[in-house]
């Protein structure tokens, strides 16, 4: 029987050489995707919300709805 001698060394190195670049690329891709699909829209949503936000108006609306305990609706 004259089989060729199988590869005995460098198996981990060979595997890493193949899989590490893929792992890094996928992780980076995931991070970039998350940044531009989640965090940037969220930051924009918050910025837009607060551009037109009138805190006093909102406070009065909430007060009239009666949810506060320290200040009751103006009628009472």
């Amino acid at each position: 029987m004259s089989l060729p001698k199988p590869v005995m060394r460098g198996l981990l190195a060979k595997r890493l050489k193949f899989h590490l670049p893929i792992a890094f690329a996928l992780s980076l891709g995931a991070a970039i995707a998350f940044k531009y699909m989640v965090t940037e829209p969220r930051k924009k949503a918050y910025a837009d919300f607060y551009k037109q936000y009138d805190a006093v108006k909102e406070f009065n609306a909430m007060r009239e709805a009666g949810i506060f305990e320290s200040v009751r609706p103006s009628g009472e």
Binding site: R42, A45, A65, I67
Partner: protein, 279 residues
């Protein structure tokens, strides 16, 4: 090991003597599982013992030949020697089987059985849900959440239109209703699937879409009233009125009824107009 050594030293006749010497308790029987065992494992390639323990005459002569130069062994003899020492080759022990099908089948079967058990539990074991699940309570809860402006930027309250006191229309609401409308006009059916969040947004769409199906049916029966879209009351109607209904309302529903002979296009157009969608 100790037992065999003792036997060799004192001979078989002297066993009684050795028994007496040990206080009359006797020698413990050597169990099979305590002796070195043979097993085929890819991570442990060389077991402690040979596979074939008791060699036939032919095998013994082969073993003697093995003590000489290996160049004189033929290929068949080398294979025979291998099979004396090992039961399965690596190729044989690593080959897959069809067992995974039975495993998956068994797993799914028992998951299904567990589902039956859970259903039985719901019916016979659990008591009533807390009063906080009542529709009226839920309505008040919803209203309070809106009053408190829960998650006004991206979440709950962001879907409520505070000016007009109704839920904001969905992004692609018009397209969806238009699509359902077209399907039904062409005599077909439309499978509507949506994933509800317990925030009233999905229920908005479902209620309207369902009402459209129902109202078209009502139209066939001559009823003219439209369901009113009034706000929180309707939001609670579909979603969490009863706890079990959350499951029901999250399933797809099938809008399928034969196109009315009256005037389906006009009917649906009137519905859409009332819902403010035909701009």
């Amino acid at each position: 090991m100790l037992a065999t050594r003792v036997l060799r030293l004192v001979g078989k006749r002297a066993i009684a003597t050795s028994v007496c010497a040990r206080g009359g308790h006797g020698v413990a029987k050597v169990e099979d599982y305590t002796m070195p065992a043979y097993f085929d494992r890819p991570d442990n390639p060389l077991p402690e013992i040979r596979f074939v323990q008791s060699l036939s005459a032919e095998q013994q002569s082969l073993k003697e030949k093995e003590k000489g130069s290996w160049a004189t062994l033929s290929n068949e003899e080398k294979i025979a020697l291998y099979r004396i020492s090992f039961q399965q080759s690596f190729a044989e022990m690593n080959q897959g089987s069809a067992e995974w099908k039975s495993v998956i089948g068994g797993v799914l079967f028992f998951i299904g059985f567990t589902g039956l058990v859970v259903l039985w539990q719901r019916k016979f074991v659990y008591g009533p849900v807390p009063h906080t699940f009542d529709p009226e309570y839920k309505q008040k809860e919803l209203q309070r959440m809106l009053d408190m402006r829960i998650n006004p930027v991206e979440g709950f309250s962001s879907n409520w239109d505070y000016e007009n006191k109704k839920w904001k229309k969905l992004q692609h609401f018009k397209e969806c209703i238009g699509f359902i409308h077209e399907c039904r006009l062409n005599g077909g059916s439309c499978l509507v699937h949506w994933a509800p969040r317990l925030r009233g947004v999905g229920s908005d769409f479902t209620t309207i879409a369902r009402d459209q199906a129902i109202s078209c049916k009502c139209a066939q029966l001559g009823e003219k009233t439209l369901p009113e879209w009034a706000g929180p009351a309707d939001a609670t109607r579909t979603d969490w009125s009863e706890p079990g209904r959350v499951v029901e309302s999250s399933l797809s529903f099938f809008i399928h009824d034969p196109v009315s002979a009256i005037n389906p296009a006009d009917m649906c157009r009137r519905r859409l107009t009332c819902l403010d969608l035909t701009v």
